[in-house]
């Protein structure tokens, strides 16, 4: 028979341990909302902005200046002029920029003569995200400029040409005019219509903070008792392993609930993230927490010293941080790696949370993830109590 009095005795004692440890209390109260605030701002905008870049207008014509004016209007760049050998080697790093362009002499002339010269561009490839974006932006600006030039050309066409055009067969004429208007895709964005990255990344931030804090907090509880010697004292009482495990998980569950509330409050009040289906989200959080706590407890029961417990936690948390899809979609990962990711509670938490909160999915859509979290919670807790049982045998 499980005794609730015994469980409450352990839970109360465990809670007092944390409560009386002022430094840990401070960390618990201050860090999670602060981290949410910090990470939220760090990841609020995934768009690349203000890339330092320099230009050299060797052409210096009306055309080149018009193109540069368009470029300067783009947020992605932070332009500054530069002078040098337009043909020679261009060093970016010493100049403190990540991109450089040279508009070659005779560029404007070339456009008029039907012999367009390429603009020379130099990119810093160290950051694999920035370089392609910069290239894309350059290409796009050039396209815009070309379109503008074409529109000007058409509107300034002599009447004779228009008359000539009218003699063309209607199909050709329509095809021609279709070619002259820019084609467009009409996009309707669902689930996150304003493309707010924060809405996507918030579950990742909340989950990661929770994962880190719950696992490390609880990971040292059993090993601490082992080190201090109180574990033997516990083991000579009629306490059952299940009671010890439940008693230890309960207070940390309460603490983690508080953590969730504080991080969600920051997400909602400060970042304006909206939360849908609170019940389903709560169930997701609860199962995720139980799994994380069980995992921490398992680490704790498995380790011999507190140092070991913390080390094992870090070894576990490192891949979780990088591979659980907290900050970038899992689909970007290669297939075999994704299989590994499926073993992390955070992966399932993020997916379920996003499915509910962004896709407004119902229970059915996240049942698999919830089932995984539930099974994980049971397996880790049972594992921890088994390890406790076989402590000295």
């Amino acid at each position: 028979m499980i005794s609730w009095n015994a469980i409450l005795a352990i839970a109360y004692k465990e809670f007092v341990h944390v409560w009386r440890d002022r430094r840990v209390m401070l960390l618990i109260v201050v860090l999670p909302p602060f981290f949410t605030f910090l990470f939220g701002h760090a990841f609020a905008n995934s768009t690349i902005q203000d890339v330092p870049a320099m230009y050299f207008d060797a052409d210096n014509t009306e055309q080149s200046q018009a193109f540069l004016a368009l470029l300067k209007g783009k947020d992605i760049f932070d332009w500054r002029p530069w002078n040098g050998d337009p043909e020679g080697k261009i060093e970016l790093f010493p100049a403190g920029v990540e991109a450089a362009i040279v508009i070659p002499k005779g560029w404007g002339q070339g456009l008029r003569n039907g012999d367009p010269k390429p603009i020379r561009g130099v990119l810093d490839g160290t950051d694999t995200n920035t370089a392609p974006s910069v290239q894309g932006a350059l290409q796009e600006t050039l396209g815009d400029y070309q379109g503008k030039q074409r529109d000007d050309l058409i509107s300034n066409l002599p009447d004779e040409v228009i008359d000539l055009g009218k003699q063309l067969p209607p199909e050709i004429r329509h095809q021609f005019s279709s070619m002259m208007t820019p084609w467009d895709v009409k996009i309707e964005t669902l689930y996150n219509p304003n493309l707010l990255f924060i809405d996507y990344v918030l579950p990742g931030i909340v989950g990661l903070i929770l994962q880190l804090i719950t696992v490390t907090l609880i990971a040292s509880t059993i090993t601490r008792e082992r080190e201090v010697g109180t574990l033997s004292q516990l083991m000579v009482t009629p306490l059952r392993q299940t009671e010890i495990v439940i008693g230890k998980v309960l207070p940390y569950l309460v603490i983690s609930m508080f953590l969730i509330a504080s991080t969600i409050a920051v997400g909602s009040l400060h970042f304006g993230v909206k939360f849908h289906q609170p019940l389903l989200l709560s169930i997701t959080c609860l199962l995720f927490l139980l799994f994380s706590l069980g995992l921490g407890l398992l680490i704790s029961a498995f380790s011999r010293t507190q140092t070991q417990a913390i080390q094992i936690s870090i070894f576990f948390l490192l891949p979780v941080m990088l591979l659980s899809g907290a900050f970038a979609p899992l689909s970007q990962l290669p297939r075999p790696v994704r299989i590994v990711s499926e073993f992390f509670p955070l992966t399932h938490f993020c997916r379920a949370f996003r499915n509910v909160n962004l896709h407004h999915s119902h229970m059915g859509a996240i049942a698999g993830d919830l089932a995984f979290l539930a099974v994980g919670a049971i397996v880790t807790c049972a594992g921890a109590s088994y390890l406790l049982r076989s402590i000295d045998e």
């Binding site: 015994a6 409450l8 352990i10 007092v16 033997s232 004292q233 083991m235 000579v236 009482t237 045998e393």
Partner: protein, 324 residues
């Protein structure tokens, strides 16, 4: 004949190749104060841990009451209290919180927790310190609190692993008074100690050496074996004499006791006789001798120096087995 509460038959524990406890057989009667003596590393703590079901015996059998110490360990646990050698309570909890925690852990009914806590606080003289953190108590009070926690569920058997190690005489006395009171009330006490004066206070003692039980009996019986065999000589200078005498063949030990040299020798009569004919140390002055009453210190020394060669197979429950 009182019934045996604890019965051990060839109980053994090995860690790898090391035999920490080697075929120990003891029986301990209900209400006894059993003193378990031995040097550090002799196997005392391992034996207690096996009795408490904390570590699995590798061979042999042990029972407490009618329950097997390993197979029924979960059922036995509510019947005994265990105070380990090392302070093992929660330092960041107060005295009262520690007691209430263990009351809960030992399944003391919720309605009785208050009364039990009051009772042990009062018995252990801890009432004034109920709201102090356990970690800030002095060594003596820590030990009293540890005993209080082990007694919260009114066990009929109490294991004390070196309860007085490192304590001042006042607290040692307090703890022994407590042991007597408990024993009076019918609690069986299993206590380990290094202090020989404490061994004297037990109703029965067992000596363990290198994992083997080498003697068991009442302090009186054990001392009886040494009677008429302990020679004290007055020699000057005493310190030099001690080292010289220790080198003699047939002498197991020579210790300074109140200025005299207490000798443990194979045949002290013959030795004395030979000295009366010829004193072999020209630089030492022989002043006199007398036969002394042995105490437990002597008994312990005699056993640990191999003065007695116990016939091991005969060291069974309640038997004195050694030859001189």
């Amino acid at each position: 004949m009182p019934e045996s509460l604890i019965v051990l038959k060839n109980l053994s524990k090995r860690f790898g190749k090391k035999k920490a406890v080697n075929r120990i057989s003891i029986s301990i009667q209900r209400g006894e104060i059993f003193g378990f003596l031995g040097a550090n590393g002799a196997g005392k703590t391992t034996t207690i841990r096996m009795l408490c079901g904390l570590t699995k015996p590798t061979a042999g059998l042990g029972t407490i009451g009618d329950l097997n110490i390993w197979k029924d360990r979960f059922r036995i646990r509510s019947r005994f209290g265990y105070v380990p050698q090392k302070f093992s309570l929660y330092s960041d909890l107060t005295v009262g919180e520690n007691l209430r925690f263990f009351a809960g852990a030992y399944r003391v009914p919720a309605g009785k927790i208050r009364d039990r806590t009051r009772k042990v606080l009062c018995d252990m003289d801890l009432e004034q310190r109920e709201s102090e953190r356990a970690g800030s108590l002095s060594g003596g009070y820590k030990q009293l609190l540890a005993i209080a926690c082990a007694l919260i569920h009114e066990p009929t058997l109490l294991f004390l692993d070196e309860p007085t190690a490192g304590l001042d005489p006042t607290h040692r006395q307090a703890i022994w008074d407590l042991i007597y009171e408990l024993s009076q009330a019918g609690t069986t006490i299993f206590v380990t100690t290094h202090y020989m004066d404490e061994a004297e206070r037990c109703t029965d003692v067992g000596f363990i050496d290198g994992g083997r039980l080498i003697a068991k009996g009442s302090p009186r019986d054990l001392k009886e074996g040494l009677k008429g065999h302990l020679l004290e000589v007055q020699v000057e200078p005493a310190m030099t004499a001690m080292f010289e005498l220790r080198k003699l063949p047939g002498v197991f030990g020579a210790d300074l006791r109140s200025g005299n040299l207490r000798l443990q020798a194979e045949d002290p009569d013959a030795l004395l006789h030979s000295w009366q004919i010829h004193w072999p140390f020209p630089n030492l002055k022989f002043l006199g001798f007398n036969w002394v009453e042995p105490d437990m210190e002597d008994v312990f020394q005699a056993y640990s120096r191999g003065y007695y060669r116990p016939e091991r197979d005969q060291v069974e429950a309640g038997q004195l087995a050694y030859k001189l």
